[in-house]
Amino acid sequence: MRNRGRRGQNGSNSETNGVVIHTEGLRKYYILGAETVRAVRGVDLEVKRGEFVAIMGPSGSGKSTFMNLIGCLDTPTGGDYWLNGRKVSELSDDQLARVRNRDIGFVFQTFNLLPRATALHNVELPLIYAGMSSRERRKRAEEKLTLVGLADRMDHRPPELSGGQRQRVAIARALVNDPALLLADEPTGNLDSRTTMEIVEMLAALNQAGQTIVLVTHESDIAAWASRQIHLNDGLVERDFENEGKVN
């Protein structure tokens, strides 16, 4: 695939001028019976490489829908979306699957690890779908698991790990394909306050190292760690500001 080697380092790509996310009038409408639900009503947004963006908003604000669009899990009703310089708003299901595989790393609230697979195999999974050889896969997965501090837990299965450890496996999995964008959806929603800090600090550290992160949360003290906050309300951007009082 194009530029794999170069982009693989830290998400840099000369064609994109350092812009990872660019949306113009992004919309998503659902039809529920006779009613049309306008979940996202036209969002213009630009996220540059190396940013740490927190997306906030009350429930029903459209932030989950927006995050699904950004994560290429869903296709927009209207508007355009460029991810890492590539227009992805008009791609087919399978093309989107490939984009998710190569350019996006997901961290979910519920971890979403495969319970029967070892930590190592869970982390290898995106590389399997990328068609990488098993030796290369293993090397990369071990690297990322070491990065998140789980070098001694590689052969454990998720049920044998604590919540924080599981989320760290998920972060290693999200990082393993060196994605342009790390997308975290309420990553601390299922964790106690101590592990929450652990995970947030880890995300901050990754951002320090150059990783672009978009974090969806409804907790302001977690959003406080981001360099920029975007508040959604009623399917529109309500506020978008640099985080002056940023932790760190």
Partner: protein, 404 residues
């Protein structure tokens, strides 16, 4: 492809994780396949047996039997087939064909303190060569003994057992047939029977002796056998026989004959067809059970897809395409079915062997049946796996991830 390995491994892991469920589901395929193999083996065995019988009876032999005569459309009583007819055949076409008349009746046979009831056949010496009989002991009777109405007997291979005396010891001894003393001159080698013919249980004596000394002047033949030099020459033989007997019986070629000419293997062919139909029916029933097994597979695959909705969502989020997911579930169904198929074939072999041992009916597991059963179980895996797999592949990743 590296993905292929993952797909197969995931399928195997999933089957192992639900070992009991997978095992029970596969059982349907195992039983279905085993049933197909066993039934086909039984049918095949029966057919081979018939084939052997046909060869035993000779594929080149025509049988002339007396039949109903008709005069101006009214049945005029059963017409006879007599020694003269056989003689006429021998005189006129004997240089090309072998002719042997047969007269038969069942009588009590005694030797020492043993006695049994056997089918006594009066015939000519040509009978033995016509049916390729071989001797275990002694000799056949000859033409001179027929001319002289001698009381000599050649025993079928089972007769010494009936008389509780070893065959070797019987040669040269005297047995009583219907109280009439006969000298045993030979004992035949075992021949094996075919349908109504059981030569191993019969006693053969000269035709003339049978007609005039044993059966009290009865001169109605049961049949006349005519052997053509090869199976290809049966048609001209048929025409020759028809011509000769019609002249003997003074029947015009345009009139209905009062005798029939049959090819003995015809009857077996008919039997063969019946067997074939029957075994097809059995295999069909077995096939239905295989089909039911397939529905079981589909059921369990649907359960599996529902159970693993979330896993499917995760895999899709991480970059699995529809095709990858489709293949994953298809391979799982395929592995279940082929595994069941292999076990079923083994079970079928076992069952066929068991039937052979318990009931002595011959079975033959045909290579084609194995191939067909395996292919069929794989096809069932594909057929019944595709729908659940498709359902998995078109799951929306968002819904799948949210699924509890």
């Amino acid at each position: 492809m590296f993905i292929l390995r993952e797909i197969v491994m995931v399928a195997m892991a999933s089957i192992r994780a639900n070992a009991l469920r997978s095992g029970l589901t596969t059982l349907g395929i195992v039983i279905g396949t085993a049933a197909v193999i066993t039934m086909v083996a039984l049918g095949e065995g029966a057919q081979r047996q018939v084939q052997e019988q046909i060869e035993n009876m000779g594929t080149n032999i025509l049988t002339v039997r007396p039949g109903q005569g008709f005069f101006r459309g009214v049945a005029s009583g059963s017409r006879r087939l007599e020694e003269d007819d056989a003689l006429a055949l021998r005189d006129q076409i004997g240089h090309v064909y072998e002719i042997a008349p047969e007269i038969e009746s069942r009588y009590q046979v005694t030797y020492a303190r043993s006695n049994s009831s056997n089918s006594i056949v009066g015939t000519w010496p040509s009978f033995f060569s016509l049916y390729n009989h071989e001797l275990e002991h002694g000799r056949f009777f000859d033409e001179g003994e027929v001319q002289g109405r001698r009381r000599v007997a050649v025993l079928g291979s089972n007769v010494p057992d009936d008389l509780e005396t070893p065959g070797g010891l019987l040669v040269g001894r005297t047995i009583q047939i219907r109280g009439i003393p006969f000298e045993v001159v030979g004992v035949l080698r075992e021949k094996g029977g075919a349908m109504w013919m059981q030569p191993d249980d019969q006693i053969f004596i000269p035709l003339s002796t049978a007609m005039y000394r044993v059966m009290g002047g009865r001169d109605r033949l049961r049949s006349i056998y005519v052997a053509a030099p090869s199976p290809d020459e049966l048609d001209p033989a048929w025409a020759e026989i028809d011509r000769v007997i019609r002249r003997e019986h003074r029947i015009l070629p345009t009139e209905e004959a009062d005798f029939s000419i049959q090819q003995s293997s015809d009857i077996l062919e008919t039997f063969n067809e019946t067997t074939q139909t029957f075994s097809l029916l059995l295999a069909g029933i077995a096939g239905v059970s295989l089909l039911v097994g397939g529905i079981g597979i589909m059921n369990i695959m649907l359960v599996s897809v529902t159970e693993r909705t979330r896993e499917i969502g995760v895999r899709k989020a991480l970059g699995a395409t529809r095709k990858t997911i489709l293949f994953q579930f298809l391979v799982e169904a395929l592995v279940l079915c082929v595994l069941g198929g292999i076990l079923g074939v083994a079970g079928g072999f076992g069952a066929a062997e068991l039937i052979t041992r318990l009931y002595g009916s011959s079975t033959a597991v045909a290579a084609e049946a194995v191939a067909v059963a395996l292919g069929f179980s794989a096809a069932i895996g594909l057929f019944f796996g595709i729908w659940p797999a498709r359902r998995a592949s078109i799951l929306d990743p968002i819904d799948a991830l949210r699924y509890e």
